[in-house]
């Protein structure tokens, strides 16, 4: 609930910041008829900056991702996202350790709600994501309190499979020439999972901290080619 409120606050503040800027721009813009967009209006490639920055800052987890998309009629943006999700994490309350590092794949499309072609886009979209991965889990302090005895617990290469769908909403703007910066927030819902009977992974590559649903987001640097 707290996480949801945080996302809503971020989105509302962002909208408040965006509206006056848009109004100011439109006051000075000379009204003219826009040329019709071509069917294939461009191809873009991009990277999700958050994952790479978190990795560089030795974050506890990171999804390092690149994407490629088509621009159809300046309205429809079919997109493919490929990445590597990494997580090395220790428990705060327990001496547990979790690790995974595996690729993931997403496919989907965005729709541009903005009618004006001024470099800004407000995108909504859907994604379908897949990751087949292996994860490690260890607890060196595993003991039988009643019968006695202790054996350090160490699982290697437990197999996991997950599929999910994401509903995305985001904005992007032209920074310079062919360079664009954008962000989006994503509501992710797990639709399929197959994990080890020993336990679910703490983190699923591309999905994030595992639960039946979760929130995520990305900050994309896109290059129109």
């Amino acid at each position: 609930m707290a996480k949801t409120s945080r996302y809503i606050c971020i989105l509302v503040s962002l909208l408040c910041l965006c509206l006056p800027v848009s109004a100011k721009q439109s006051k000075y813009r000379v009204e003219k008829e826009m040329p019709k967009a071509r069917l294939l209006n461009g191809i873009g490639v991009g990277v999700d900056g958050v994952g790479f920055i978190m990795k560089a800052m030795s974050g506890r987890f990171a999804n390092m991702e690149v994407s490629g998309r088509l621009n159809l009629l300046e309205k429809y943006f079919p997109i493919v996202e490929l990445g590597i999700g990494e997580c090395t994490r220790e428990g705060n309350e327990q001496p547990t350790k979790f690790h995974t590092s595996a690729p993931y794949f997403r496919i989907g499309a965005d729709y541009n709600l903005t009618k004006k072609r001024n470099g800004n886009r407000f995108l909504v979209g859907l994604r379908y994501g897949v990751s087949n991965f292996k994860y490690d889990y260890a607890n060196p302090d595993f003991k039988d309190e009643v019968y006695g005895g202790a054996t350090p617990l160490e699982f290697k290469d437990l197999e996991g499979k997950a599929q999910w769908v994401e509903a995305c909403a985001g904005v992007e703007t032209k920074l310079w020439s062919f360079v664009r910066l954008g962000f989006n927030i994503r509501y992710k819902m797990n639709i399929y999972k197959k994990f080890s009977p020993h336990g679910d992974p703490w983190f699923v590559p591309g999905y994030g901290k595992f639960d039946t649903s979760t929130w995520g987001g990305s900050v994309n640097l896109m290059f129109d080619i």
Binding site: A2, K3, R6, I10, S13, L14, L17, C18, V21, S22, G49, V50, I53, M54, R89, E90, G91, N92, E93, Q94, T96, F98, N120, Y137, N139, F142, K143, D144, V146, Y147, G149, T151, L153, F155, V171, T173, L175, L181, G182, F183, P197, H198, G199, D200, W202, G217, V219
Partner: protein, 156 residues
């Protein structure tokens, strides 16, 4: 627009969350339920103690009028032998129950303790003083499971 994006980028980089979401009722016990020979639930009116082979302290002490009770199973052995002792003012009876099982380590979250789940393979009696027979009702011993073992008492 650009200003907003930079503010958001900073927000995304700063946020971090760490929930502790362990199962509240996280005891793993094998539930023993008592029945008469007609299959009706019964409570043992006198006092019942349950011991495990190799342990000095009882697993369950002075149970009275209970129709079922939960017993922890060992983490590392494939076979547990339980001694069930019923006693009153002037008598004492005991029976030995052998449980063969598979142990499955189970973790839930990084901040929750690891537990041992069990799958019951077989259950048998080594004596028949007050227990007539035993059957496995639900083989999976995990959180909040139902009756794992039905114990039919001599009631005639």
């Amino acid at each position: 627009m650009k200003k907003a994006l930079f503010i958001l980028l900073a927000s995304l980089l700063c946020w971090a969350c760490d929930d502790i979401d362990c199962t509240l009722n996280n005891t793993v016990e094998c539930k023993l339920a008592f029945y008469d020979q007609d299959g009706k639930p019964v409570g043992i009116l006198d006092t019942l103690d349950v011991y495990a082979e190799g342990l000095d302290d009882p697993l369950y002490n002075r149970a009275t009028k209970q129709t079922n009770l939960g017993i922890p199973l060992s983490y590392y052995k494939d076979r547990d032998t339980l001694q069930l002792v019923v006693y009153g003012k002037d008598y004492m009876m005991e029976d030995w129950l052998v449980i063969e099982k598979e142990n499955i380590e189970h973790f839930e979250s990084l901040n929750c303790p690891v537990k041992m789940f069990h799958t019951l393979k077989s259950v048998s009696l080594m004596s028949n003083e007050f227990i007539d027979s035993v059957t496995i009702n639900y083989p999976n011993v995990e959180y909040n499971n139902g009756e794992n073992i039905k114990i039919y008492l001599h009631t005639r």
